[in-house]
């Protein structure tokens, strides 16, 4: 079995190598876009990973929380504050900062409420029970999105500057992409600091390891889990805003599709492992962009979803603990 796995990876590398030799400029610019997209995916994947680490629950509704994050970002930034492609730099900075806060708070509180409403009553039930309610919650949220956004994609104005930072062989790398990519870093460092260095983070790690033992040590397990959902939701809010700015196009079912992609990323990196989630997301982002952007024998975008799922299945079959994961998933 491992031989087949290595063979597949080798084939992938050969394909990438040939593309690199044939069109190096395309390869570089597509790779940069993939990196940007991967960082946004990383924020969503972290939400899955955090929750899985602490509850061993695949929070199906997470993708839809992210989608509602995009929606609230759109309605705050564009409809309430009135940002548009011609807004001044000052207005854009403060408007987006405010939008970010609102989106984080909204998604965080939404996620906490979902946990309290649909998952906590089933904490001691068979494992599949909360997974099923998670699917139900995902449907409900998706329906809310459908009612708010309508069935068609909604376009978001180019709030961020669209000029080129630099161009490689005629392919521009936009300022918008750069800003989106750079904004993910502070969030990631803040998260790592929170989980590794603070008291609350310690409580989260302890709860992830053993809920009962954590409770005996005086950790309020329910509150810690709520806090984890709050953090995961806030990350989804950030991702919602950044994705809306990056792709300038949001849909009511983006939560389902990107959520599954992000979940794949979390599994690829090793679910429950936070750096792994980001690594996996970057890899998935790269694969997606290479698939859609390269010219030599690339299957193109109509196969993206199949490829992502094929990766998911292959990872689960060959290396279920993921790239960085240990056999027992633990947060932090």
């Amino acid at each position: 079995m491992p031989a087949i796995g290595f063979l597949l990876v080798a084939l992938l590398l050969v394909w990438l190598g040939i593309n690199l030799v044939k069109t190096p400029a395309d390869f570089a610019s597509v790779g940069l876009e993939g990196l940007t997209l991967g960082l946004v995916y990383g924020l969503i994947a972290l939400g899955y990973s955090l929750v899985y680490g602490i509850l061993e629950l695949i929070n199906f509704a997470h993708g839809d929380v992210f989608m509602l994050g995009s929606w609230i970002s759109l309605s705050v930034a564009v409809h309430q504050i009135g940002l548009s492609s011609s807004s001044s730099g000052f207005a854009v900075v403060w408007g987006l900062a405010l939008t970010l806060l609102v989106a984080m708070a909204f998604c965080g509180i939404l996620n906490v409420t979902i946990e309290r409403l649909a998952y906590r009553p089933l904490r001691n039930a068979p494992r599949l029970a909360p997974l099923i309610t998670a699917i139900g919650m995902s449907f409900i949220l998706q329906d809310v999105g459908l009612n708010r956004l309508g069935p068609a994609p909604v376009s978001v104005p180019n709030i961020l500057p669209t000029g080129a930072v630099f161009s490689i062989g005629g392919n521009q790398y936009r300022w918008a992409s750069l800003i989106v990519a750079l904004s993910t870093f502070p969030v990631l460092f803040l998260l790592i600091w929170l989980v590794q260095r603070t008291r609350q983070g310690k409580a989260m790690r302890a709860t992830a390891q053993d809920q009962e033992a954590a409770a005996m040590m005086g950790i309020n397990v329910n509150r810690t889990i709520s806090f984890t959902f709050l953090i995961a939701g806030a990350l989804a809010g950030v991702a919602g805003l950044l994705y809306a700015l990056y792709s300038t196009n949001i849909r009511y079912d983006q939560g389902f599709q990107l959520g599954l992609i992000a979940f794949t990323a979390a599994v690829l990196g090793g679910i429950g492992n936070l750096p792994g989630a980001v690594l996996g997301a970057i890899l998935i982002g790269l694969i997606q962009q290479f698939n859609e952007g390269l010219s030599w024998h690339a299957p193109s975008s109509q196969w993206t979803q199949s490829i992502v799922f094929a990766i998911l299945i292959l990872i689960l079959v060959f290396r279920p603990e993921g790239l960085l994961g240990e056999r027992t998933p633990e947060g932090g």
Binding site: E56, L57, I58, T113, R116, L117, A118, R120, P121, L122, R123, N124, A125, P126, R127, L128, A129, L131, I132, T133, I135, G136, M137, S138, F139, I140, L141, Q142, D143, V144, L146, N147, Q211, E212, A215, N220, V221, N222, R223, F256, L260, F263, V267, Q302, W303, Q305, S306, F309, A310, L312, I313, L316, V317, P320
Partner: protein
Amino acid sequence: MTQLPDYREPWWQRWTGLLGEPRRRWRAMDDQQRRQARIVLRALLVAVVVYISWPLALLVVAIIAAQYAKPRIPARYAWASRALIPTLILVVAVTYPFYVSNLHAMRLFGAFPDVNTAVIMGVYVIMAIGLNIVVGYAGLLDLGYVAFYAMGAYTCAWFASVQFAKHHINFGAVGVAPNTPGIHISIWILVLLAGILTAIIGIVIGLPTLRLRGDYLAIVTLGFGEILPQVANNGDSLGGFNLTNGPNGITPIDAPGIGNVSFQTGYNSFFTGPRLYFWFVLVLVMITVFCSLRLRDSRLGRAWIAIREDETAAAAMGVPLMRTKTWAYATGAFFGGVAGAYFASFKSSTFPNDFNFNISAFILSMVILGGMGNVWGVIFGAAFLAYLNQEGLANIGHQLNQTFGTHLDVPLYQFGIYGAIIVLTMLIRPEGLIPSARRQAELHEGVADEPLYDVQHE
């Protein structure tokens, strides 16, 4: 067990625990109180159904009465007590096309479903029973059941349409002019063939993935459920070969037939096309129910239930995990394929867009609402939700709009309603409306809004 006050919860969060309240009350009751509560609930049910439609209420009362009569029938006539309710339901179902036009419209729900809708309900019943084998019996959450349905539908489409126009094959197909291009094989053979092919696909999918833990398995099946429709969508030029005709789908597909009577045209005003479709879907449902019940009580079925309840213990008792799970998967897939093939022939078309994740979740909510593990519950859940999806919700929306002068657009709320059904069922009555006794005991074990410092069950 004394219920400790959940004093750590802030006041503003306490309302969110209200959904768990009915279950807490129920658990606190003793047997006497539960019996009384059950009588009150049944009376309420009958009252509501009488309000909606009295013929329906008659059926409900008859079923409840039969249930009361069951333990009072002497053991000598055990077969009669077992056959009582199924026979009742079967008679009502078989004669349905004769009296449906004479029934008054239901309150709130509008007209009774016509025969065509009933065929669709039957197809969904077969699929739900198939999924119930995987989810209800073996406890493997399958979120990609639609892949099997798609596989069945496409098998039927390939071998009973003009898709492969190079060939001129006609084998038992009814109502197809001679020399029509394409492969045309009798639908009855195809229904079986689709089942077998789909079961093989199920085994192929299952072998590498079934060793995964429950929730990973759910995601992998979901992945397959997404990949197959995408293959169907992009399959109009797989290396230049047109396999699935892409987004345009394959249409028309031959209708089934007996002798030289095609179901499309019917025989006469008594044996009309829709009626024939309906009766034969009933036959398929009966076969499915029979297989499902016999399987449940077989050695294999008991192994499934053992795995569901405790995988480790089952393995220790010598149940071969992989083989047993693969069989559950293949059996579930078989019925999915059968239903898909019959449905494709009934609709006379198959499109990639018919097979998205929503269908998988829809079938899953039928199983959950009806009662995981109980065939009768699943039949009810499937028929009810399929009806809601086809006509019921639109009718209710129409009625509400007329009564209150609102402008609700029901399709916009459809999936929210299914989501709410799933969540509420899981929270309030996780064993479903008509539970299987065994599953009920399992789900009630430690399901409550209990604080964590109590004993924790896996």
